[in-house]
Symmetry: C2
């Protein structure tokens, strides 16, 4: 991480301290461990896991859409936030090879605006149908004073099932396996605090600025693109290749999220030139004066999901994923030695 | 509802509009219905239900602790909030006769304070052990700008299982059944927006005021008492009586929550003199100039959970619940004609 250029906008400056978050994580884990029955897996993977008597596992994840809510507020378009949270959760389940059973949402706001809530739930319900999750429940909380005036938070919890023997946790990864990256569509649901600061404070852009660099889209449209669901692409890859690990690229970028599913002592070398980073990321970096390594720790950089497959299965997995309409690239390989390195 | 005394503090005046919330509920339900597979139950009961191939049901609930967070902030004591959210969720599951499998939490804040987060999770983890839920995951979101400075929100999602044939939904309730009320311990997790306004704005109390009416407790201590878990009391009652319906008394009070589990055309007559409403509620009503009917629509009034049992089983169910250390009273009976009436 470079501290050399004083204009670098560190994520901490935008009010989010990733180091402080990491420091408490290990203590939290210890508290959690003692609640776990034999065979259960708490935080660490993309979904928690509870073994069931029939050999299957229940998988569970909880997430929020973060400060993407602000972009929705500025543009008055909320439907996509409902899609975002459902797809974010479904991709967390997918990363352990779970398939959705049901979803619940929490909608917190300073004040309930019925039209806004309906728009979000409309997005959620449609996305739930798409991924095959029953929308089993939801809670709406009006908390004037807790939320800043006009602000909302959207949280989702999705539960899925992993068939007996089908769990994928990365433990079978071997050095020299291929890392396949599936294309993201915009920022998905991570990095919005920094992106907002870079674009709208440092860069003085407006959400309705229509930019040639974005193919004529407005910034608001580009920033609101919903989180992709990778179910079809992953199913296609699973049908033709022995997938050894999967990573959903969320906060922490490719580095942190890919590292989460690699066995102890294993790392990955990522070829930064293997795909074209979409122009939205360059725009954010330039507007905010954000160094490349900081960008990679915060944003997905154009890769929303990674698959680790044996090297000789890479071509068929790539072709299978692409056939579902998702662009995909071989973006690196696993190596001996921990951590994710960029080349 | 009385509009006669202009000093009446309606819940709406505290920034929470219950009528607006009710109006959108039916439209939300229609959106949700189309995501539900055969046999699944969405919002309406205290937990959503998904039938499983073995005849069991998965039950799921999501809740927040609401503006009780403010009392914790003023007193610097956060551990109880973790207990609150776990017990709130576990009681929602209990109301359909589900037993906890696992829990996930979401902690949103303007800024992450590690010590505060750890205190909350410590409360959660201990309560999860107590109710038998694995703490499978959690999400921590730092959202400066979304949350007012120094404010937090705490959300929990709990999943449980209902054994084949064990589901209790109220459909077997008959006129003349007994309603048994189990004692609450303070406000649990509902009505804090109105209580804060009544006590600390209208009434000009302070959280560290030590009041004789509260048995020498400070207001802060009385308001922070954790949400009770009724698992032991309900198990004891189930062992001796055919329980036909259960209601977790949350926002909306006895009226709304008991009505949720009565069949179409059935109501309940509640004898308001059957138990002594704890002094905290009288203090809130007096400080805020809140009419009795409004109090009953917002607060639990000393009853945290209701059981509906055949009349001839009431005495044994009462005795069984009391033997677990929870005070209980026969507070009314079911009647022909919808709604809950007070007498």
């Amino acid at each position: 991480m470079s501290e050399r250029t004083p204009q670098n906008a560190r994520y901490r400056d935008a009010g989010v301290d990733l180091d402080a978050a990491a420091a408490v994580k290990s203590r939290l884990r210890a508290l959690v461990e003692r609640t776990l029955p034999a065979g259960a897996v708490g935080p660490g993977l993309f979904s928690g896991l509870l073994p069931r008597p029939d050999g299957s596992h229940l998988a569970a994840t909880i997430d929020g859409v973060g400060t993407k809510t602000g972009i929705a507020a500025w543009t008055g378009r909320y439907r996509g936030l409902g899609i975002d949270i459902v797809h974010h959760c479904a991709d967390d389940l997918l990363a352990v090879n779970a398939r959705p059973l049901f979803f619940l949402d929490y909608f917190g706001a300073s004040r309930l605006e019925p039209a806004l809530l309906l728009e979000v739930v409309e997005g959620m319900a449609g996305a739930c149908e798409g991924v095959g999750a029953a929308l089993l429940g939801g809670e709406t909380a009006q908390m004037p004073g807790t939320y800043a005036e006009g602000e909302i938070d959207i949280v989702g919890c999705m539960i899925g099932s992993v068939a007996p023997g089908a769990l994928i946790t990365g433990r079978d990864v071997e050095p020299g396996d291929a890392v396949i990256g599936l294309a993201s569509d915009g920022l998905h649901t991570n990095g919005y605090s920094l992106a907002r600061r870079a674009l709208f404070e440092s860069g003085r852009f407006a959400v309705d600025d229509r930019l040639a660099a974005l193919g004529g889209e407005t910034l608001g449209e580009a920033l609101l693109r919903p989180h992709r669901h990778y179910g079809a692409a992953v199913d296609a890859a699973l049908a033709v290749a022995g997938v050894r690990a999967m990573a959903h690229i969320t906060g922490g970028g490719i580095e942190e999220n890919l590292a989460r599913v690699l066995p102890a002592g294993a790392g990955a070398a990522i070829d930064a030139g293997a795909w074209a980073v979409p122009p939205l990321f360059a725009l954010i970096a330039e507007a905010g004066g954000i160094a490349a390594d900081e960008m990679r720790r915060v944003f997905n950089m154009g890769i929303g999901f990674c698959l680790v497959v044996p090297r000789d299965a890479a071509a068929s997995a790539l072709a299978a994923a692409r056939a579902t309409g998702v662009e995909a690239w071989a973006i690196g390989e696993t190596v001996v030695g921990g951590g994710v390195r960029w080349g």
